[in-house]
Amino acid sequence: MAVLKMQRISICALKKDRKAILEKLQSLGTLEVDHILDEDEDFHRMDTVGQKQGFEKAAASVDQALDILERYVPEEKSVFSALEGKKLISVEEGMKVQEERRDLLRTAKQIYDLDREHAEQLASVTKLTNSIESLTPWLALDVPLKAMKTDRTVFFPGTMPGGTTAAKVYEVLAEKAPDTESADVHIISQEQSTVYLAVICLKEEAGAIEDALRSEGFARASQTWEEVPARQKEQLEQQISEYREKVSGIEEKITALASERERLKIVADYYRVRADKYEVLGTLPQSERTFVISGYIPEAVAGSVADGLMKKYDCMVDVEELKEDEEPPVILKNNPFSANMEGVVESYGLPVKGEIDPTTIMSFFYVFFFGMMLSDAAYGVIVSIVCGILVLKFPRMSPGMKKSLKLFFYCGLSTIVWGVLFGGYFGNIVDIVSAKFLGTTITPPALWFVPLNEPMKLLLYSLLFGVIHLFTGLAIKGYLCIRDGKIMDFFCDVVLWFMLLIGLILMLLPSDLFASIAQMEIVFPGWLNTTAKALAIIGAVGIVLMSGRSNKNPALRIALGAYDLYNITGWLSDVLSYSRLLALGLATGVIASVINQMGSMLPNNVIGIIFFILIFIVGHAMNLAINLLGAYVHTNRLQFVEFFGKFYEGGGRPFNPFRENTKYAEIKEETLS
């Protein structure tokens, strides 16, 4: 239950050790760089933008090559690949790849070039295929498809609109070019909208004939070929098959390079890490012989890091406390159980300076409420087993994912407990199955009581748990006030409210209203009733007088106090909000019963039983999913809105250390934390 204490570490060392020290710090990953020294005449920053961009470019080009590989040879991935986390590689493996990085970069370039060539060849194939298509109508022509001439004659192929016949062409010629008589027209082939034809005529008449034909829609063949169309087609097909061979050759080459994938991943990470290093290097103030690096470090490791560095290198390491006005980054540190709820706190906001880490206290309430909302022992077993197996099976999954799964594991355990207390096992499956197949209804006994039979009882308990939760929140606020020495705030904002609320609750308990809700009468001795009234009145008057204490104007002060007293409605709505503990628990149980009921309506034969099982599996899977979501969302809400609302604001900055921020694999190396 704590925020790790941060210290400032400043290292001043010789430039000759710069690379070694930076790499050491990066592999330790315990330092967030934050410089306090500005540039002056002795200390200057180095311009490393060029190198940094170079490394980033290298990493990007390897990433691109990996993408290309993924396209040609998709990596086999299991459904759970997202859980597997980054691969762990040995130092030697990392070093080896590092030495071969230039070759690997060349490989990446090669993959990129091959991919481009692949695209070009495919484009050529498409182009040739189009050519063959345009050649197809001319296949019947037994001379090359182009305008040719002999000494006396001219030959030209072309197209005319659909439906044109040889007779019609002659008619047109007779009409539009009556002086010509040498034209010889051959229809090569016909399509719906186009007729392909070839014309031979005398050289002198060619112009007139073509003009006449043109007026009827004649156009010369758009492509010309040196060979007879049939032969030309063969040649083109030959070329296509050559290109295709090349394409498959390229594909084979790329496939062969897929064996380099793991090494490429490592080298991409290597360049990424170096780019980060150069970015930090660019921020370092450096003199002629020395450099300074400074930043935040958790107190727990500060000493050992300082000692380790000073022993190994000629350097001066200074660890000091933070200044008053510094806002250090935040790392949460909790016991192994509560640490799993850190993600929940993080998603609300990390504690800022002066706030406490609410994780530990919240974690118990979290698991308690979650189980109460899901409240079905069988569902709890499923959730716990699934999460437990996943956590054990994938030890390398990312820490955030692991924490979430462990969180659900514990929530599942709590759900089992609540399920047993309330007698919920897949809703009422035991009743249904026993009634259907055994003829007698067996109801598993609830260890505590069945919510469906006594909803009012559970409602009261829900509100009671809510009051405990809220009072805990208010008590933490009180603790913070005392810790910071704000006794006045503690008295006015915490003690007075406690008096008012406890007084009101004590006044409510013996009333008729409560008796009718709870169906039981509570009789307090007279002195307690008087005390309750006294507490409530003192609390209320105190709040009216004291809430606006920062204000000098007495009328305004009272008005502000009265307004603050109005917050009592806020408390009422906060407490009522815990009725969702009952409602969501009921929803799980009743909808599970609906599913069971549906299944039990089927006839008692083989087909009926098969469908019963089918309905059971699908129905309960859906019910579990939606109620798991509901329990998660509403547990978060109770923590964030009702609980945190009393004492916690958040807004801290997460610790972002200078470390080896890799994408694919992690190198196994010693760490100090």
Binding site: A587, I591, V594
Partner: protein, 158 residues
């Protein structure tokens, strides 16, 4: 006259399921449109936006819950119809109204909030926890209505 009692009671169950179910369908639909837009741009956000899309779907379940309890109370499920007076029938109908009406309206409102929350996930995926909270705030009122409907139906003696 006493035959009408059961009709009113069944009408109550129908109102609870009908209105809240309609509301949830509209709400999930609104959120689904926003979710589809996000997934077109970035398919990796599918799981997150799906969860938010589902949030307005709970009202329909609450309606189903009240409908089911009503049906089993008046004996429609068991086969033996209970003998219900007109007064009891109308009481049951009235008891079903909160979850029906609040379910309808809150699911639509929650759907719009969920669509906006999906917008948060689209731009800042790391703020998922907060984005999920806004639609959950709307749901509180459906839960309160469910509670009153449930306690009323449960409390009416047949």
């Amino acid at each position: 006259m006493s035959e009408l009692g059961i009709v009113y009671a069944l009408l109550g169950a129908a109102v609870a399921v009908l209105l809240s179910g309609t509301g949830s369908a509209i709400g999930v639909g609104i959120a689904g449109q926003a979710a589809s837009g996000v997934v077109t741009e970035d398919p990796s956000k599918f799981a997150k936006v799906l969860i938010i899309q589902l949030l307005p779907g709970t009202q329909g379940l609450y309606g189903l819950l009240i409908g089911f309890i009503t049906l089993s109370k008046i004996g429609v499920l068991g086969g033996g119809l209970a003998d219900i007076s007109v007064q009891t029938g109308l009481l049951i109908l009235a008891a079903c109204l909160p979850i029906g009406v609040v379910g309808l309206l809150s699911a639509i409102a929650q759907g719009k909030t969920a669509a906006a929350a999906i917008g948060i996930v689209a731009k800042k995926p790391d703020q998922f926890g907060k984005a999920m909270l806004f639609p959950a705030m709307v749901e509180t009122y459906a839960i309160l209505a469910l509670l009153i409907s449930f306690l009323s139906v449960n409390g009416i003696q047949v």
